[in-house]
């Protein structure tokens, strides 16, 4: 009895075991993970999603690349502008004149060459040339003298091959002195042509 009692579960176990073992060779037709099948059933939907995902990723990548390119371009532009500004600052130096004169001084010819070189290197740059005078002439005569100084510089630059259309001029006479001093040094500084980007 005791044996029998023990046997039953064993038999059950065996039976179960056999049952399990027996079922093993023929699993094919059963294919139990049906639910998966069902989920996978709308096959086209799934590929779309993947595609979208891929597209999204590609888009993001492109965007990131574009952004990077933009940033790089902006940085390059910034650098170019900074260089342009630096070059402009380096090139656009005042030239000065003797009292009541509008002749380009020998020592200023290199400055004008640097301005011409700058304009050649920066094809879209335009500059304004402002002619100025010291306070020791009359108001009206100095306006004319400033006009003549501005044109002297302008003509010298066109002589160096700068297109006329890239140069404009103005005269302030003695109306806008660069420095306020009233001595030889200040007067020399105030007898000038100033070059500014337009």
């Amino acid at each position: 009895m005791r044996f029998a009692k023990n046997l039953i579960p064993l038999a059950v176990l065996i039976t179960l075991g056999v049952g399990v073992a027996c079922k093993k060779p023929a699993p094919a037709p059963v294919e139990p993970p049906k639910p998966v099948e069902t989920v996978a059933a709308p096959a086209p939907d799934n590929s779309d999603a993947l595609k979208r995902e891929a597209e999204e990723a590609a888009r993001r990548k492109a965007e990131a690349e574009a952004e990077a390119a933009r940033k790089a371009a902006a940085a390059a532009e910034m650098a170019r502008l900074a260089k342009f500004k630096n070059d402009a600052e380096a090139a656009l130096k005042d030239i000065n004149f003797d009292f009541d004169k509008s002749d380009i001084r020998e020592m200023d010819k290199a400055k004008l060459q640097a301005i011409a070189d700058f304009l050649k290197a920066n094809a879209d740059a335009k500059i304004q040339i402002a002619g100025n005078c010291d306070e020791r002439g009359t108001v009206e005569y100095n306006l004319a003298l400033g006009e003549r100084r501005a044109h002297a510089a302008q003509n010298y630059l066109t002589g160096l091959g700068v297109a006329e259309a890239r140069l404009s001029s103005i005269s302030y006479g003695k109306e806008k002195p660069k420095v306020q001093g009233h001595d030889e040094e200040s007067w020399l500084i105030n007898r000038n042509c100033q070059f500014t980007l337009q």
Binding site: D100, S102, E135, R136, G137, T138, V139, E140, Y141, L143, A144, L145, E147, R148, R149, A150, H151, A152, Q154, N155, S169, I170, S171, Y172, E175, K176, Q180, H182
Partner: protein
């Protein structure tokens, strides 16, 4: 009434002579042979505040008459009236003309001023005569203007020429770095106020006889000539209008008839020429065409000649030419830098500036004599002369560097007066027009 005589005394002052370029004589002129004594007792006042009348009328009239030139103002506290028995006391003070005034409140609230001028000197010979009797009215606040008008009328009565007490001076004042505006001030230094508010460089005013302004302003960037086409009208661009010239324009000057503007036009080589713009039609005629600077045009009163500055023979010198550009001749020969010519109202003189040892002084060239006379010999630089409408004085700028102020002088240089206590002034233009 004693005949008032303008005597020109030529005095050689060795010190001044030493400072002036050779052969330009120093002239001390307008030494009145005698001035006419005019007594100005305090007005009888009714219905108007005494203090106002004192400062805005009596003091103003006294100053106007004193500064007019041919009057010597006598202020004495004596009985003033039309009673001949009171005249003797005035005569003893040197009075010739006794000017009694009454200020009252007229109907409608206007201020009313009655004046009577008696020649008390003549009255001694039992020949007392009223020189002038006149009534003036104006709105509240018009007392200053009335005082100026009385002074001008008395000048006209005495000399036959209208006085300039009612005149004004238009000028340029720097109000900030690179910012200059037009201002005006009454001849007596009162009522200064700005005429423009462009917050830009605005310079070189000229005023037509009818009061129309023209000037150069950089408010659009490049210099343009703006001004008025009709008296009291809006400020509009006068030049350039259609085509854009190669060079810039400067220095407008109204012709005496107010129809044309002489102005300076630059060319593509940086030379500047005098051109004349017919304002109504916009037609422009070029008067000079030389490889140099031509600027500072100033008309003669007939409007058929112009004085101008040119460096065609080297440094700046003053030249004359017809209003068609013909008959150019050089006026100044002394000194290396002469400019800013201003033709006098009668046409007989041209004021200009000459640079000597680093500063300018005023000179007057007398066309009849063919000679120049030095007017100022100060230590400061004196620039931009403009004649008073009666030709008795010249307004100009003078001062140490950067601190140019407005002054007036007679032709002797003896009665130098500061017009107004204001710094950074330039290019005054004296005009009768209001």
């Amino acid at each position: 009434m004693k005949k008032w005589v303008l005597g020109l005394l030529f005095i050689l002052a060795p010190l001044l002579q030493a400072q002036s370029p050779p052969s330009q004589e120093v002239v001390l002129s307008a030494q009145a042979g005698s001035k006419l004594g005019i007594a100005l007792p305090h007005p009888k006042v009714t219905g108007v505040a005494e203090a106002t009348v004192s400062t805005e009328f009596h003091a103003v009239l006294g100053k106007d008459l004193e500064e007019a030139g041919p009057f010597s103002v006598i202020q004495k506290n004596l009985p003033a009236g039309t009673d001949p028995s009171t005249y003797q006391a005035w005569v003893e003070t040197g009075t010739e003309w006794l000017l009694t005034t009454g200020v009252s409140r007229g109907a409608g609230g206007d201020v009313e001023v009655m004046i009577q001028v008696v020649d008390v000197m003549a009255s001694q010979s039992k020949n007392a005569k009223a020189v002038m009797s006149k009534r003036y009215t104006g709105k509240e606040g018009a007392l200053r203007r009335i005082a100026h008008k009385i002074s001008d009328d008395l000048m006209a009565r005495l000399t036959g020429e209208q006085g300039v007490a009612s005149s004004r001076v238009v000028f340029v004042k720097e109000t900030g770095r690179g910012i200059k505006e037009l201002y005006q001030v009454d001849r007596d230094g009162a009522n200064a106020f700005p005429l423009t508010a462009y917050k830009s460089l605005t310079i070189s005013p000229t005023v037509a006889a009818d009061g129309r302004m023209a000037y150069v302003t950089y408010k659009g960037g490049a210099p343009e000539i703006w001004g008025q086409r009709v008296p009291g009208g809006p400020q509009v661009k006068l030049y350039p209008l259609s085509s854009k010239p190669e060079g810039h324009c400067f220095c407008p000057s109204w012709s005496p008839d107010g129809r044309r503007l002489a102005l300076v036009q630059g060319d593509r080589r940086g030379n500047t020429d005098i051109v004349v713009l017919d304002v109504a039609s916009g037609r422009v005629r070029r008067l000079t065409d030389s490889n140099c600077i031509n600027t500072d045009p100033s008309w003669n009163p007939a409007g058929n000649q112009l004085a101008f500055t040119s460096d065609r023979e080297g440094g700046p010198q003053v030249f004359l030419m017809g209003d068609d550009g013909s008959n150019v001749r050089r006026l100044t020969h002394e000194g290396t830098y002469n400019g800013s010519p201003a033709w006098s109202p009668s046409g007989s003189m041209i004021a200009y500036v000459s640079r000597f040892e680093g500063k300018f002084d005023l000179f007057v060239y007398k066309l009849g004599e063919g000679k120049s006379y030095q007017i100022t010999t100060g230590l400061a630089s004196s620039e931009s002369p403009s004649w008073s409408p009666d030709e008795r004085r010249i307004v100009f700028t003078s001062g140490s560097r950067g601190g140019m102020q407005l002054y007036t002088t007679d032709l002797s240089g003896n009665t130098l007066r500061k017009l107004i206590n204001m710094d950074a002034c330039q290019s005054p233009k004296w005009t009768r027009s209001r």
